[in-house]
């Protein structure tokens, strides 16, 4: 005899609102295969029917670095110390690219996947997570080219030094990914109602790059523009880019205070993003 009136007997319940905070890791774990398949899809569909295939991943950072080197170092005369300017720019651009790829890839999650989301349920967070992970592959390829140039310059006799902190480099990349994911989820949730935001993204990212010490050392802005230096100093991304160069090229400075600040901001942004994303996923399909 089974008793229908025990409330705990139900496997799950569909209700109007999510609990205030429910990450539901168990459910995400159940769908881990989907996550991997999404990553696989994202990675392999990029190469299909292209002649150069994964080489396209390399062309963009190389050309950007060359352009930056000509404009910011040769024309504007930004000093990169003992490090070759090209390598200096390539290091900054490689990590910066990972951030922008995560942010732009996740920020239109709801809009771009409305067709799938409108037909079938799976934990929505799988989609932005897969973007962050598949971009890690792209980042890996771009990082290899950086290593290639690093070795090249080393044998050319450039004064390059690795820093022992390089062991922490993967952690830095995880922080970068989480920050991109958090911001992306926040924006994607807001884009479902207010489309205006999607116009802002491309433009906003470009502006943000200039505030993130990608093509200049952080110390430079403090010297040259003391009045606006705070814009860079309060930007957590600037610390990540600066620390990357410190780890890889042993230039610039690393501020523990700055890094703790970055970590705190990342965690806060990630959880706010998650919260808003969770709140949106239940009924966004009615407004998107």
């Amino acid at each position: 005899m089974n008793d229908n009136n025990t409330p705990n007997d139900w496997l799950f319940e569909i209700t109007p609102k999510n609990k205030f905070f429910s990450l539901n890791l168990k459910e995400v774990w159940q769908y881990r295969d989907l996550l991997l398949l999404f990553v696989k899809r994202d990675v392999i569909t990029v190469y299909k029917q292209t002649v150069l295939g994964p080489l396209w991943y390399l062309i963009q950072p190389l050309f950007t670095s060359v352009t930056f080197t000509i404009i910011f170092n040769n024309v504007a005369g930004i000093d990169t110390g003992t490090v070759p300017p090209f390598l200096f720019n390539l290091a900054g651009i490689t990590v910066w690219n990972y951030f922008t790829a995560c942010l732009t890839g996740t920020s239109d999650t709801f809009k771009a996947n409305a067709a799938i989301f409108g037909k079938v349920y799976f934990p929505r967070i799988i989609t932005p997570l897969s973007v962050v992970i598949s971009n890690l592959v792209k980042f890996g390829i771009q990082f290899l080219i950086f290593i290639g140039f690093y070795i090249f310059y080393y044998f050319q006799g450039a004064n390059l030094g690795l820093n022992g902190l390089i062991l922490f480099f993967p952690i830095l990349i995880v922080i970068m990914g989480l920050l991109g994911l958090g911001l992306g989820m926040l924006i994607s949730a807001m884009v479902t109602k207010y489309r205006d935001l999607s116009h802002l993204i491309g433009f906003g990212i470009q502006l943000l790059m200039y505030l993130s010490a990608v093509m200049y050392p952080m110390s430079l802005i403090k010297d040259k523009l003391p009045g606006y230096g705070w814009l860079v100093e309060y930007n957590p991304l600037a610390y990540i880019v600066e620390t990357t160069r410190y780890m890889l090229l042993n230039v610039g400075e690393v501020s523990l205070l700055g890094l703790s600040y970055t970590l705190a901001v990342t965690i806060a942004v990630f959880f706010i993003g998650l919260l808003v994303f969770n709140k949106t996923e239940k009924s966004f399909i009615d407004t998107v």
Binding site: N2, D9, G118, I285
Partner: protein, 430 residues
């Protein structure tokens, strides 16, 4: 013995906002938030109206579903039937967690998988095999489950030869076959299915319906099934609920439910579209103003004897001169089976442009052609050379055919069930 309830819907309601989501959004959001922080009720929840598509309401908010309650027992196949816009799809979306209800809750004792569309998330660049894995995972299967059924899926789809070719090279029929094959091997406790049967060619449809019957009958799975095709509903379901304007109007055995639904369908033998009516069938040069079903005395009538000719008169208004076109209609029975189609291929309007004004066209359906039952007529305006349909309006008018006994009927004096979609009086030769 107590019932083994696997799924229970309690007071499900769903509200939608009509019109454009745009300028008003922010102000409504702020207002809603302002009520919330003062501890008051959401001001927009009160003003919704019942969702009747054809009448113009005063409110921007409508209830697509209102106070839906039902229970499903383990192993039951529940058919959800109702007209377009009755709330069937909304209910399915809530059941499959695609959107949340505005109020109420659904409790379940089993994993729900939904099939609102076949081939969700198919990626054209990937091969058939890769897509089986991707689509299966989207539907909630693990890689292991898919691997173990891969051979069966490929065999069922009948696409073995193309399985390592990118799906973008597939014909649309093959894509659908592959997609349905993946879905057919889902194994949740509760399966929610929208009208996905209406895909593929005849051979595949038969296979698909057979597979659905296996799932529901043989394997004892709980299934919730939505369809317009009464024949499919009848053959698959054991129980039914009828939705009308977002409310449950009937709940019971499947035969009673279908009966109730058909009676509910208020088809009319005479319709006039007023000048500014929003749902008036029209294009830039022509609009349909009136349609009526006439008997041999030229009177409007909804019931006709099986032996009598039926005339359907369409009146349209020419809005622009110099247009060449013709008209046609389709006839559907209550199970929404398409019985016949007829174009006025010899129409004078194909060669002779009409002046502005209202014109009448009448089509005659001979007696002793259709079987007894209710029918619904659509009306279309189209052009030839090249062929193009300007508009095709469904459910324009409807009528019932009443069976009779007698020498001049096909039935004669036989009183049992007379099968067949049509009942023409055919000649027999020695």
């Amino acid at each position: 013995m107590k019932k083994d309830i696997i799924l229970k819907a309690e007071n499900i309601s769903k509200q939608y906002r009509l019109g454009q989501v745009g300028t008003g959004t922010l102000s409504h959001d702020i207002n809603r938030w302002w009520h919330k922080i003062r501890g008051k009720e959401n001001p927009y929840l009160k003003i919704g109206e019942t969702n009747d598509r054809s009448t113009k309401g005063n409110s921007d908010y409508v209830w697509a579903l209102q106070d839906i309650n039902f229970e499903v027992e383990r192993g039951e196949v529940l058919g959800i039937i109702g007209k377009n816009g009755a709330g069937k799809s909304t209910l399915l979306k809530i059941l499959s967690k695609v959107t949340a209800p505005t109020t109420g809750s659904i409790k379940s004792r089993g994993r729900i998988a939904s099939l609102l569309e076949v081939g969700t998330g198919f990626n054209g660049e990937m091969t058939g095999r890769e897509n089986i894995f991707l689509n299966g995972a989207i539907l909630g299967m693990t890689k292991k489950e898919i691997s173990s059924k891969l051979d069966e899926i490929i065999e069922f789809s009948g696409c073995e030869r193309y399985i390592d070719t990118p799906v973008k090279r597939y014909s649309s029929g093959m894509t659908v076959r592959l997609a349905f094959a993946v879905a057919a091997f889902l194994e949740p406790e509760i399966l929610v299915i929208d009208e996905v049967l209406a895909v593929g060619d005849a051979e595949f449809q038969k296979k698909a319906i057979g597979k659905m019957q296996d799932i529901s009958k043989g394997e004892g799975r709980t299934v919730l099934f939505v369809s317009h095709n009464m024949a499919a509903v009848k053959s698959l379901c054991t129980k039914g609920i009828v939705l009308e304007n977002g409310r449950v109007v009937f709940e019971g055995g499947i035969d009673d439910s279908i009966q109730n639904y058909l009676e509910n369908e208020n088809s009319t033998a005479h319709r006039i579209w007023s000048n500014n009516s929003v749902n008036m069938p029209k294009v830039d040069f022509i609009e349909l103003v009136e349609a009526k079903v006439l008997n041999k005395e030229n009177n409007v009538s909804i019931n006709h004897s099986i032996i009598d000719d039926i005339m359907i008169e369409f009146s349209y208004k020419i809005l622009q001169e110099g247009q060449f076109f013709t008209h046609g209609f389709n006839l559907f029975n209550v199970e929404n089976v398409h019985i016949l189609s007829s174009h006025d291929k010899r129409s004078s309007t194909l060669n002779l442009a009409l002046k502005k004004g209202v014109y009448k066209k009448t089509v005659i359906i001979p007696g002793n052609l259709l079987a007894e039952g209710s029918y619904s007529c659509s009306f279309a305006i189209m052009r030839y050379n090249p062929f193009h349909i300007e508009f095709h309006e469904m459910d324009v008018v409807g009528f019932n055919i009443i069976d009779e006994f007698g020498d001049n009927t096909v039935r004669g004096s036989y009183s049992g069930h007379y099968p067949g979609l049509v009942r023409p009086d055919l000649k027999w030769k020695d």
